[in-house]
Symmetry: C2
């Protein structure tokens, strides 16, 4: 990484980071050996410190070369995880499995399997699976699972906090203003990648059944708004119309994605789709969005007034985060992504608290929490970039085709809006597939329509669209800000 002004402190800090990376495996091994008497929180603390130092240094380095901090967090996660994996460090090897590890743990607990057995059920047979199984069955296995569970849940809470903050800085009124362009971007951004995915899979694997092509097309429709939201925050451009259109389109995308997933899954499983199921899902999703925002705007002001009389310390923070958590839970209950709920909660609250002036502002109080937890999500996401996935030429071929389809489809969607806007930035902002694409892919794996080569290719496509977005968005936003 080329830092223009070589700074002694940076070097000192990097050495510290290197030292920690060496100390960590030894420390965790000892902690596992200490057994009964040790506090299970100890390895979690080390993991949190490592992530915190890594995120701070990575973010700082990127800012030094004019890039958004989030790119540094992703890269630090990627580098540390791949180096640690090379040395077979147990905790990080488990952490970089991400959603797959969640499935392994759930399967082990629900079906009364041992962890290694569950790993062999969930993952494809091979050297990597055996390594994981031996780690999970070894002396550090339970500890690594414990650390994974905590960091994974903390990262999920982190995106909720991030999208809640983004929602706080956006108003319902503003969102309604960008309603039409956001809708156009969402629809084009779903239809085009779907068709391109279908077509390119037919090109690459003409022998595959059409249901498989349809599922891959469906995977390409996903949008993960976390990365884009962070880039806009890092560059302090969150108030631009482009940012709001992307957010609105991402929310609509989530609803459309839900419907597509249901339709495609039904097609794969039973060969047919019932109109009733699609109508029910659509109705539930729309009901949640309209209902939560409508009821929220109507019920929050009197509730806040009552709260003010209670004189509870930091009531704003408790109420704000409480609402964000409840809305996230409600969204999940309705089958939507939790972050859609968090964003809706932020939309509802926005300026209501400005009336009741006691204490610091909600945003000020959330700032330290944001700087502590949000990087956890992005470092963990970077950790899941597996460089060994790039070792198979066939996989790279499929991945290349999928990535082109994924990028072209979403970038073109940006051009669905008026010429006055920065259409290229909107398109690039819609690019990252993130965890949403991975969730789609793992469901496809469960249904048997996504094999290991295609799954790896999807993972590469998700990684590329995720890693390319911050630097590209930075360039296009700087250009349009000048114009």
């Amino acid at each position: 990484m080329n830092v223009p002004t070589p700074d002694r402190s940076l070097i000192v800090a990097a050495i510290l980071l290197g030292l920690l990376a060496v100390v960590y495996p030894a420390a965790t091994a000892y902690a596992a050996g200490a057994g009964e008497h040790g506090d299970p929180v100890a390895p979690v603390l080390v993991a949190l410190v490592l992530i915190g130092i890594g995120a701070a240094l990575g973010g700082r380095m990127m800012r030094a070369i004019g890039q958004p901090a989030v790119l540094g967090e992703l890269l630090v996660g990627m580098v540390v995880a791949n180096v640690a994996y090379y040395f077979r460090e147990p905790v990080i090897t488990v952490l970089r499995e991400g959603a797959t590890m969640s499935n392994v743990i759930r399967m082990a607990l629900e079906q009364n399997l041992s962890l290694p057995e569950a790993a062999r059920h969930v993952l494809p047979p091979g050297e990597h699976t055996e390594l994981l199984a031996s780690i999970l069955g070894g002396p550090s296995g339970a500890m690594a699972v414990n650390v994974f569970d905590f960091i994974d849940l903390l990262a999920r809470i982190a995106v909720i906090v991030l999208l809640f903050l983004v929602g706080l800085e956006t108003s319902v009124h503003e969102m309604r203003k960008v309603g039409l362009p956001a809708f156009l971007v969402a629809v084009v951004g779903v239809v085009l990648p779907f068709l391109l995915g279908l077509f390119s899979m037919w090109l690459v694997m003409p022998e595959a059944p059409v249901q498989k092509d349809i599922f891959i097309g469906a995977i390409l429709t996903a949008t993960s708004v976390g990365i884009t939201a962070r880039v806009f925050r890092d560059l302090r451009q969150g108030q631009r119309d482009e940012a709001k259109i992307i957010l609105g389109a991402a929310v609509i995308d989530d609803v459309l994605g839900l419907i597509i997933l249901a339709v495609v899954s039904a097609l794969v499983v039973s060969g047919s789709v019932s109109v009733g199921v699609v109508a029910t899902i659509s109705a539930k999703a729309v009901l949640f969005l309209v209902g939560s925002i409508g009821i929220g705007v109507w019920i929050t002001p009197p509730l806040v007034k009552r709260m003010a009389r209670l004189e509870i310390d930091n009531v704003k923070l408790l109420f704000g985060l409480g609402l964000a958590f409840l809305f996230s839970w409600l969204a999940n209950w309705m089958g939507l992504a939790t972050i859609v709920g968090a964003f809706a909660a932020g939309l509802v609250l926005e300026e209501l608290f400005l009336d009741e002036l006691k204490g610091h502002s909600l945003r000020d109080m959330l700032s330290p929490i944001e700087s502590l937890v949000v990087p956890v999500f992005f470092v963990l996401m970077g950790m899941q970039v597996k460089l060994e996935a790039f070792a198979d030429w066939r996989v790279i071929g499929i991945a290349g085709v999928l990535t082109v389809a994924a990028v072209v489809g979403k970038v073109a969607a940006g051009y669905a809006v008026s010429r006055r806007l920065d259409r290229l930035s909107i398109g690039i902002g819609m690019m990252p597939r993130g965890e949403v694409g991975l969730i789609f892919a793992s469901i496809g794996k469960g249904l048997g329509v996504v094999n290991d080569a295609v799954f790896s290719a999807v993972v590469i496509m998700v990684m590329l669209t995720t890693l390319l977005t911050p630097p590209l968005l930075k360039i296009t936003l700087a250009r349009s800000a000048k114009a």
Copy 2:
């Protein structure tokens, strides 16, 4: 609970709490049923919101009747958990098992047992164990374990944050000033409860082997400083000499407790004790305290200066919490309690940050985090107060004797200091056994010297010393403040 000024908002809030308690089981059941597609963070979010609302209301009610907020958090946890247990709510039934559940989960993961099998291994046979086993093996089992793991680790981090804050507000210089009285309180507070425990066990169960009496005596020597530290914070009296003596004595107690535990365990297992082992443990503990504080005070100022040049956002917060987490981990590595490390980190940092003035003060930034996470620890502690433990007369008898020994031993220790100080408050402040006593007891259970009746009695003793401390300390501190 008699609130002097019946407040409409309080009633509204209480209704909200009741509603949540009803909604929660249904919601978690649905979440478990939703399976693969649901986000595993959803039930965690509901649990956090419930704990947050409960803590805020409980704390508010106690302040309304002039009691420290921590008592409200303990009572809300106790009431909610026992009501939910009565209705067999799965998540809370799992949460209230506390350290026992950690053992069950670890055993299941490490020894490749199913969760119900592990529960039957760890817990005594009976109706309660079968209920737990059926919950753990049921559809919500994996979800409940997931929620438990997260909340449990978050609570452990919460005490670390609390003790770090307490350390921040205390200086090394001040601690050295109270060194002698703290040492006297610690030594008397270890020797006296040990002898009283030994004697009273001999009175109650003269047929038991002497090793058992010795182990019970050892359990009574523990001090859990979390409750007392919170009470002093709630009443804004943390700067009194009494508070510092209690903190110092608690730290010394932790070291002494470590040695006692090693000696007693060795006595039980092998019938003899090697001087070498005791010397090694003592040396390690002293080395940690002297070393960490010494090196910390020496190395932190230059490190902070370098950090300042890095220009990382919220660097104070990252550095402060990072140091607290690292010291906690180090303490655990040395066999001490994590909170001893957190307190030492706070001692080291104290005023150093006042030089480097950029950004808000560390304490200001920690305040929202404190108000969000610290109550989690105390609500969870309250949840572990099992009212059904009071159903057996024999257990109550043993518990009564143990509680008297525990209270008298520690209160008398307060009288080891000068007459000018509030000796009764110091003694009462040393009373709570908290999780330290429970950890001792569960080790004893593992060694086979603590049977179920005695374990239940120890749990009651821990609960009573913990619940009695806040109101008693409030009375004695108010009296001595007037004098």
